[in-house]
């Protein structure tokens, strides 16, 4: 016998919605056609609440809460869009642009990049914080793929897909604060990695041009992320 499903009712942007008790605000919002911008979230991966773009206002809470990890509660009144939230989301994306060297025009992911699309959908026409222009490496030692740290936004999707789905845990974080970056194995060149299976999942979940296939010219790298929910669904079904 399956356990009884508990249903909660709540409001998102004034709209009455129903949800299972174990759902997050983000899931329920998207089911009901309310779009909340995200970057680190990806259907099929565990959530970390790191990019802070899905922050929403919840009545009665003085703090903004990340929709991707906040579970629904009965009678919750959620505001997913407000001038305050829009302006915060804008400057967070602007900060991401300023952090590394995102040169859209010559990027292999130009036109197929989630960061670029976020900027467009949030109506960002320029970045108000100064560019940091860090000097970063490009690791092209892998036979088929390249990691370009200039384009990385540290969403950690590659780390999670490699750990949770592929089970290899080749990717991880290294360094603190602004010096944080993703690494393969114990900070070895990707091409020398013993744990990497070469499956390429990290490349396809990467929202930007940080993880790409070799041999792509500007604008040619299209990611295929659809595999992920199917893969997790099938695994759950098999268990």
């Amino acid at each position: 016998m399956s356990p009884a499903v508990e249903i909660k009712t709540l409001q998102i942007d004034g709209k009455d919605v129903g949800a299972r008790a174990d759902q997050t605000i983000l899931e329920v919002a998207r089911e009901n056609g309310i779009d909340i911008p995200t970057l680190c979230h990806l259907d099929g991966l565990g959530d970390v609440g790191a990019c802070r773009l899905c922050l929403v206002e919840v009545k009665g809470s003085n703090k903004l809460l990340p929709a991707c990890v906040t579970r629904v509660q009965e009678g919750m009144e959620v505001t997913a869009h407000s001038p305050r939230l829009e302006s915060l989301r804008k400057i967070i994306v602007e900060m991401l642009f300023s952090e590394r060297n995102h040169v859209c025009s010559v990027c292999v992911s130009n036109g197929h990049c989630e960061l670029q699309a976020l900027a467009a959908s949030l109506g960002i026409t320029h970045v108000r914080v100064p560019y940091l222009n860090p000097k970063l490496q490009v690791d092209a030692t892998n036979r088929r793929f390249v990691i370009d740290h200039n384009r990385c936004v540290l969403c950690s999707r590659c780390v999670r897909v490699c750990d949770e789905i592929e089970g290899a845990h080749t990717w991880d974080h290294f360094g603190r604060g602004i010096d944080c970056r993703v690494i393969t194995d114990l900070n070895q060149p990707w091409g020398n990695s013993d744990s990497c299976t070469g499956c390429g999942k990290c490349v396809h979940v990467c929202p930007t041009g940080a993880l790409v296939e070799k041999g792509r010219a500007a604008g040619e790298m299209r990611k295929r992320q659809q595999f992920l929910p199917y893969l997790t669904l099938m695994r759950e079904g098999r268990q």
Partner: protein, 177 residues
């Protein structure tokens, strides 16, 4: 009604934004009825004129000469527009920013040169430590991102300005192409 005095300026860029401007084709003729192009790489004039209503600048701020020009332009322009990604983000010219100027010059004029290897000290203006978006140096009133911005975005911006409205570029243009 008097015509709007417009200037276009080419700084550190590839002139692609000006090409996109010219791509407005026959719509240029309609625009010409409302605007006076008082200064431009397309117009043979040495000095930036005194009173300009709208100045569109293509390219990043890369040299000391650019900086001088930009301050002068700002002083004489009512409205300053960053046209294209180089002006808005420093874009490709900004890709040198992770390296010191010395090594950039060495790479360009010595290591990669086949003839006459020397770093020019005269005629060519001195590079700034970093190529900057215009708004990191002066107040910019309007941003038209894009590499290049689509001719429709430029046309929309100019039409709105002619009509006396402030254009909202947020849905008309974005970084990259």
């Amino acid at each position: 009604m008097s015509k709007i005095r417009i200037a276009t300026v080419w700084m550190d860029g590839c002139s692609g934004c000006h090409m996109s401007f010219l791509d407005m084709d026959e719509r240029l003729l309609e625009l010409a009825e409302h605007i006076d192009l008082v200064y431009s790489p397309l117009v043979d004039l040495k000095d930036f004129p005194q009173e300009v209503d709208v100045t569109l600048i293509e390219g990043a701020l890369s040299s000391e000469e650019d900086m001088e020009k930009l301050h002068k332009i700002r002083k004489h322009s009512k409205l300053l527009v960053s046209l294209g990604d180089c002006a808005v983000t420093a874009n490709v010219p900004g890709m040198r920013n992770s390296f010191p100027v010395d090594s950039v010059l060495k790479r360009g004029y010595l290591e990669n040169a086949t003839l006459n290897q020397q770093i020019p000290l005269q005629v060519i203006p001195k590079l700034l430590p970093r190529a900057l978006p215009l708004h990191e140096a002066v107040k910019v009133d309007l941003f038209i991102p894009g590499c290049p911005p689509h001719r429709d975005a430029i046309h929309y911006a100019l039409s709105e300005l002619i009509a006396g409205r402030v254009p909202d570029l947020s849905t008309h243009s974005h970084f990259g192409a």
